[in-house]
Amino acid sequence: MASTQKDILKVVESTKILSPSAAGLLEVASRENHDLRDIVQVIKCDAALSAKTLKLVNSAAFALQSRVSNIDRAISYIGENYLVSLAMNEAAGMIYDCDLAGYEGREGELWDHNLLTALASKKVAEFSKESINGNVAFTCGLLHDLGKAIISSFLEGTPAEVLESLERGEVHDYASAEEKILGMDHTQAGHALAEHWQLPEPIPSAIRFHHEPHQADKEYHALVYAVHLGDMIAMMTGKGTGADAMRYQLDPDYIDLIDLNEDDLAMIILEIDNEFSKLQKSMTING
C-alpha cells in the first residue's frame, strides 16, 4: 500500500503545473475580498485567454446586440465564474477529461460534476449563517474532486468490490474504501495536487475536507460545508462521477452553519440546472 501511495504522489508530481494566468486567477479568486477588477488585471496579461474571453462574449451564448471588442467590457458581461471555468478548462482540461475508468465513469463526467458542484456551492453559500463569498465557493467547487483523476487508474477493476463492501457495512463511504485499497482517498490526492500547484487557501482545505467538513479549520468551516452540500446536490441531480455517486455521508451538522429548507433546495436545483446548461453551451462554443 505504501508503494501505491508513493506511485500516486509520483503522478501528482508529474502533473503539469498550471499556466501563470490560471494560477494567478485562482490566487485572486480564492481571496475573500476580491472584485472583478482584480480578475481583469490577470486576464489582460494573457493574450490567449483575452482572445477566448472576447470570443465567448461575442458568441450566441451571450446573445449581445453589438460586438464587444474591449476586454474590460467583455469581462464585465461574462463575470468571474465563467472566466474561472474557462481558465481552468484551458489549464487543466487533460485532468477534467480523464475517463474515470477506476469509477466506471465516462469522459466529461468529472468536468460536469465539478462545474455543477461549483454552481451549487455558490447558491448554498447564500444560505450560510456566516458571510461567505459565493465566488470563492464556486472556485473551490470547481476544483474539489480533481483527486479522482489522480487515483482513478489505481482503482481500475475495484467498483464492484467497493460497492459490495459498502453494502456489507465494512466501510462507511466510498472515500473510506479508496483509502482502504490505496492508502489514500481522492480528497488526499486532490490536496497533494493543490499543494503541487501551490494553490492558496481555502482551496486546499475545501478539496481535502469536502466529505468531512467538520475537520476543516474553523476559519473555513462555513465555506467547506457549502462545498460539501454543493457536492451532494450535484450527485443528487444525476451528475456524479460513476460508481461512487451518492455513496457518501451527508454531515448533518450543516444545520449549524447553513439555513436551508426543502423549498430552497428545490430552487437551487432548478437554478443550477439552467446555469449549467448556459455555461456548458458557452464552453462548447469556445472549445
Binding site: 465513469g105 464492484a160 460513476g242 451527508l250 426543502e262 428545490a266 436545483i269 432548478l270
Partner: protein, 119 residues
C-alpha cells in the same frame, strides 16, 4: 419515458410550461397526453407504468430527501389517473440509468459497478 427532477412545478410555472417533464405534477400528465396522441387510445388505465430512481442521501432533517419526494409525487399523480405501477425500484443510495426498449417495452437499469438488470 419521463425523467423527473423535482416533485412540484409551483416553484416555476415558466419552466413547467417549457419543460413539463422536469416536474412530477406536470411530467406524468404530459407523458400520458403524448402517449395517447401517439395511439394509446385506451387511456391511462391501459398503460403499464414502471418507476425507477429516487435515490437519497441520509439527512435527519429530510431537506435532502428530494428523491423520496419525487417518488411520492409520481405515485400520487399516477394514482389520480388510476394507474398502479407494474414494477418499481426506488430509493436507497444507488444512482440508476434507465433505458426503455422501443421495440418491446423492456425497462433496463444500469449503474456503474453493477451488471445491467431488468425491471
Amino acid at each position: 419515458m419521463v425523467h423527473i427532477a423535482l416533485p412540484d412545478s409551483s416553484i416555476n410555472s415558466e419552466k413547467a410550461q417549457s419543460q413539463p417533464g422536469y416536474f412530477a405534477d406536470t411530467g406524468i400528465p404530459a407523458l400520458i397526453r403524448e402517449m395517447m396522441a401517439l395511439g394509446c387510445t385506451g387511456g391511462p388505465k391501459q398503460m403499464i407504468a414502471k418507476i425507477a430512481g429516487g435515490s437519497n442521501v441520509m439527512d435527519p432533517r429530510n431537506v435532502f430527501s428530494i428523491g423520496k419526494r419525487n417518488v411520492l409525487a409520481v405515485k400520487k399523480v399516477l394514482w389520480k389517473y388510476g394507474v398502479s405501477p407494474r414494477a418499481e425500484e426506488v430509493g436507497g443510495t444507488l444512482s440508476r440509468t434507465v433505458t426503455v426498449s422501443a421495440k418491446n417495452g423492456a425497462v433496463t437499469l444500469s449503474s456503474p459497478g453493477k451488471n445491467n438488470w431488468t425491471l
